[in-house]
């Protein structure tokens, strides 16, 4: 009967950690290569999400500031059929809205179809009657008047750049607007005082903006068809809900996200596709890190065989390789975070992407894209990129780590 050998106490982890750390700098070139791969993957992940999120936000933002409004109030019937006869009831809605928390400004608008005529061309137009001062707080169009000036009073019209080009109208010239009013057809001559160049195709190709008083004369609408509210970005839905409590029956406040129409589906589809694409990118990124670690293990077969021959157990050998991968990935990740957030900040601060989208905007007028497309900066990108790197570390433990654990010292030491 032989006496059972006493179980060895578990080896302390600290020496293994130290060994793994030292190994990183023993193979400096290989480590730097892996660091670069991980940093690049992290940078790419942050850049990708900054772009995807920023694109969606820019589309909605340009919709809010150029095409609709952050929050819009209109009669339910008008939402169904935007005809001027479905105008808002004759109630002091504007004064009621002044005290609603989150509402920074409110301005009445009248939307109506009309015929726009120059001395050369007549064409249909969707006209908006606005309060010039109120619109300055709400819309970016007043600041985008490239020729002439913004509206100051009745008898004036501001045209989108493409509208002006199509009818061959210049600043200072007169055009004729005519519409089917509630009280019968009306027409009036208006002076072109400004031509807007926004970079938003939907505005530049269709904008015909007149004074609210002229719109009332042309349509016979005594009030307005909509009230546009200026609210802080991201608070649209909440403010719309608060405003709704004050509105009479049959009148509804909607945040921009509920107003973007087909753009909403487009943005959501883009987001869904972005997630699928991200998963593919993540998988390739993790594979790239894992394969780099794997190649490193292959190259170090002899070295790892020597370490195993010195008494390091297979399990600890696998752990050593995994720790090395972890350290490299952690360092690369931190470096990638710094680079990625710097790039995201640059995208969010400077209109770097805008010029790239100018051509797309022209071909997608309903998309509401503007020349200004900014990136987003969110803390969630730390988690997104962290997940990729974590997946890479796990795969490193599974494949290269297991290979290291299974090495036979004698065979490994003979390896070339």
């Amino acid at each position: 009967m032989t006496e059972a050998a006493p179980a060895l106490p578990p080896a302390p982890a600290a020496p293994l950690v130290r060994l793994a750390w030292r190994n990183l700098w023993r193979h400096r070139q290989r480590t730097i290569l892996l660091l670069a791969v991980v940093a690049y993957v992290t940078f790419l992940t942050i850049f990708y999400w900054s772009f995807v999120d920023g694109y969606g936000e820019s589309v909605v933002e340009s919709y809010a500031r150029y095409i609709v409004a952050p929050v819009r109030i209109a009669a339910d019937a008008w939402y169904e059929d935007p005809d001027p006869e479905h105008h808002l009831p004759d109630q002091p809605l504007l004064s009621m809205l002044a005290d609603v928390p989150g509402v920074r400004g409110a301005s009445a608008r009248i939307h109506f179809p009309a015929l726009l005529q120059s001395a050369y061309v007549t064409q249909g137009a969707e006209v908006v009657g606005v309060d010039p001062a109120g619109e300055r707080r709400l819309s970016r169009i007043p600041d985008k008047v490239a020729e002439g000036r913004w509206l100051e009073g009745p008898g004036e019209v501001v045209l989108g750049q493409e509208v002006a080009r199509r009818i061959d109208a210049r600043v200072g010239e007169h055009v004729v607007l005519s519409a089917g009013a509630l009280a019968g057809p009306q027409a009036m001559g208006l002076q072109v005082v400004g031509i807007a160049r926004t970079g938003v195709a939907a505005v530049d190709q269709t904008a015909v903006i007149v004074h609210l008083e002229d719109a009332r004369r042309l349509t016979g609408v005594p009030t307005a068809t909509t009230i546009a509210l200026d609210v802080a970005r991201g608070t649209e839905a909440a403010v719309a809900e608060r405003v709704q409590a004050l509105l009479p029956a049959g009148v509804t406040a909607r945040g921009v996200w509920d107003l973007v129409g087909p753009i909403k589906a487009d943005v959501e589809a883009n987001q869904a596709f972005a997630h699928v694409l991200a998963l593919v990118v993540y998988a390739f990124a993790a594979l790239a890190v894992t394969s780099t670690v794997f190649v490193s293990v292959m190259e170090r077969t002899r070295e790892l065989g020597v370490i195993a021959a010195l008494g390091v157990t297979p399990r600890r050998l696998g752990l050593l390789v995994t720790l090395e991968a972890f350290f490299t990935c952690a360092l690369g990740w931190l470096g990638g975070l710094a680079l990625g957030y710097a790039a995201a900040w640059a995208l969010a601060t400077y209109n770097i992407l805008g010029p790239l989208f100018a051509a797309i905007s022209a071909s997608m007028p309903t998309a509401g894209l503007s020349e200004e497309v900014y990136g987003a900066v969110r803390t969630a990108y730390v988690a997104y990129s962290g997940m990729v790197i974590a997946a890479a570390v796990v795969m490193s433990a599974l494949v290269p780590g297991r290979r290291a654990a299974r090495l036979r010292p004698a065979a490994a030491m003979r390896a070339e």
């Binding site: 009309a114 015929l115 005529q117 120059s118 001395a119 050369y120 007549t122 008898g155 210049r170 200072g172 010239e173 007169h174 055009v175 004729v176 607007l177 005519s178 519409a179 089917g180 019968g184 057809p185 009306q186 027409a187 009036m188 001559g189 208006l190």
Partner: protein
């Protein structure tokens, strides 16, 4: 001697006074043009429209390489109301247009429906020609513009029989896209010989030339009109007015919506 001299002097004074009274009366009776440009324009528009009438318009629309002809019956009160019904070609026959001030209605025979068009539709091309509704019915020249006598040399053309040129400037807010219009007027008969419409950059964009006036009583109406699109070469419409009954009795029913579909004769 002295008595004869006094008699002769008295006779001369009497003749001078008589002449001073008689000459203006005579010239007024002969149709002296109004001194006021607005009054002159009113008279010119009266003669452009020709008063209440029945007739047949024939449009020959000329385009580079092709022409199209339309025949239509017209009845107008000579003021702001007119009914036009197309009788040829068969493809367009049955379509009708009713103009009543700013109101403009179109009857589509295929749909069997009447559509109300916006007032600026009055300046639009009629049946794809160079003629607008305003050129046939209405007094837009009077209502949309302020008239003044044009300075010599203002017009790019004078033409036979033109003695006076009226310069029409759009009234503030008037629904006209033109920068100005010049009207060449024959002074003796107070008839327009031509109308040139200018854009706001001083270029002629449309020219009307009117000729072959038919006269009946106090009314005169041009029976030949050429409308040219001055911005496009080869775009021209020749209009002839035939079978005219001037100063005719026009029933009110001709300007009711029902007349669009059924006519009124």
């Amino acid at each position: 001697m002295e008595r004869r001299y006094v008699k002769a002097l008295a006779l001369a004074v009497a003749l001078a006074v008589a002449a001073a009274v008689a000459v203006p009366a005579a010239t007024q009776g002969a149709g002296e043009p109004p001194r006021d440009a607005s009054a002159l324009l009113r008279a010119v528009v009266d003669n452009l429209r020709g008063g209440p009438l029945w007739g047949t318009y024939t449009f020959v629309v000329e385009r580079p390489g092709r022409t199209a002809e339309y025949v239509m019956e017209v009845v107008t009160d000579g003021d702001e109301r007119g009914l036009i019904r197309i009788v040829a070609p068969p493809r367009e026959a049955g379509q009708a247009f009713l103009m009543d001030g700013n109101d403009l209605w179109l009857y589509n025979a295929r749909l069997g429906r009447s559509l109300r068009l916006p007032p600026s539709g009055r300046s639009n091309a009629f049946l794809g020609s160079d003629v607008s509704y305003n050129d046939m019915v209405g007094r837009d020249l009077e209502t949309d513009y302020t008239a003044a006598f044009a300075p010599p040399g203002a017009a790019e053309r004078d033409g036979a029989g033109v003695d006076i040129v009226l310069e029409l400037t759009p009234r503030p807010g008037a629904p006209t896209p033109y920068g100005r219009a010049l009207v060449g007027v024959e002074e003796a008969r107070l008839i327009p010989r031509w109308v040139d419409y200018y854009d706001q950059r001083g270029q002629v964009v449309k020219r009307l030339t009117l000729a072959e006036y038919l006269e009946a009583g106090d009314w005169r109406v041009p029976t030949h009109m050429v409308v040219e699109d001055a911005t496009r070469e080869g775009y021209r419409t020749v209009v002839r007015l035939t079978d005219v009954e001037l100063d005719a009795a026009v029933p009110e029913a001709c300007f009711a919506l029902q007349a669009l579909e059924r006519g009124c004769r």
